[in-house]
Symmetry: C2
Subunit: 258 residues, 2 copies
């Protein structure tokens, strides 16, 4: 019964990550799964593509209802490889990207490899769900994320209306029973302020590690994803890709002349 | 007279690229310049950040009114390094990212390292201009881009209104006299369809090169950047970073329940 749907799974933590296995578990409830993910971790890779290097594809394994590939490119490269090469002649019904180790709420949608891949999937006219768990730990508990992932994907596949093509779903840390529900949200405004940790290598060369803190510019706004997550709700933000600042366009008419 | 303004220049083709020199030439008309750009080409790096590797900073040279640094990270890392480390105690008045070899119109804003850096600059509350020339060639002629860059930056700095913080400026190929003027535009809708070129290495391993074509989904829409460029106008799209699909949010209220 599920065999008719083809679901693409990708991930930015690598083809053998715990979050990838969790996303495959979500996807297998709904159809045949093809999973294409980077050979190595690609966190923070945004919507990067590989323009100046050759890319190697490796079939890791095939089993009933699942084909798993590792690809040497970025998460977006993986999505392109699936749609434009591996499954060019078949229809992919849904893309699941994740489950990411760590939040992709707020402006992190722009830095995230998980969401970069999800957005890319939507360019193929295919519903895509980016799933992220707000826990960077190697021992992160994905049980609640899997349950909510299944519930959201199930509701989307059952819907009889035209849906937004890309969803940014974040799941708070905790056991399933501690999560208060789901909230539809807008993207919180905020930004990162970085601290560069400075070190010296054994040869006396200075190097830096990028590290920083997210500044929530509107902590009291109850309609944002940050608020939902801080209050133990699953946040769902539908994503579109027109970045035009329409208000700014009007302002500029008096500033930049033809 | 110009010494009071501090202008950050960055680029995704590397600190010693021709486009970087062109952007520095634009910036030097308006103030003291600090240039921080990647050691090597980082085209297509989007808004990627380096989370899992140390970063090395190298001062390339200092001359009257210019400090030039090469950084081992991504274009966005370069912007963060400038604001959060090198010039943490100083005010940067403007960021120029570019001049890119190749168009960053339409959805390319999402893949572009040039625009990734420009968007990052805007997070620091600083006006930023991404400049791209629609010519990938190594012998690209930057003369018109430099002239238009100076004109646009001059108009922005002279403006007495609150401006959009980030502009995506693309300049068509050609001599200055062939350009018909400037158009304020919205981002064209469209997407890439890829062809993976397949080759074999000397050891028989298959590899792929990513290559593709942009599909303009609305070729007749005269208010888009693609139309402007196709008709020999400089295109200017103000960019904002709230990717929430507000219409989709309403649709979802009937699909995803709490």
């Amino acid at each position: 019964m599920n065999g008719e749907r083809l679901i693409l799974v990708t991930n930015d933590d690598g083809y053998d990550s715990k979050g990838m296995a969790a996303a495959i578990e979500v996807a297998r409830s709904f159809g045949r799964v093809v999973a294409v993910a980077p050979e190595t971790t690609q966190s923070g890779m945004s919507q990067a593509i590989t323009m100046h290097a050759p890319l190697f594809l490796r079939r890791v394994r095939t089993e009933e209802g699942l084909e798993l590939y590792a690809f040497s490119g970025t998460p977006v490269d993986c999505v392109k490889m699936a749609f434009d090469h591996l499954f060019r002649e078949e229809r992919i019904d849904l893309v699941i990207s994740g489950i990411n180790h760590g939040s992709n709420s707020a402006v992190n949608v722009l830095y995230s490899g998980t969401m970069g891949a999800a957005i890319e999937g939507s360019f193929y006219g295919c519903p895509t769900v980016g799933l992220s768990l707000c826990d960077h730990g190697a021992d992160a508990d994905f049980e609640a994320s899997i349950a909510w992932g299944k519930r959201i994907v199930g509701d989307l596949l059952a819907a009889e209306v035209a849906l937004p093509l890309c969803l940014n779903v974040n799941i708070p840390v905790g056991r399933p029973e501690t999560i208060r529900g789901l909230r539809l949200c807008r993207q919180n405004r905020g930004f990162w302020r970085e601290e560069f940790f400075r070190r010296e290598d054994p040869r006396g060369r200075t190097y830096f590690w990028l590290t920083g803190d997210f500044v929530n510019a509107e902590p009291d706004a109850e309609d944002t994803d940050e608020w939902a997550l801080a209050h133990n709700y699953v946040s769902v933000v539908p994503i579109q890709v027109d970045m035009t600042d329409y208000g700014g366009l009007e302002t500029l008419r008096n500033v930049l002349k033809n």
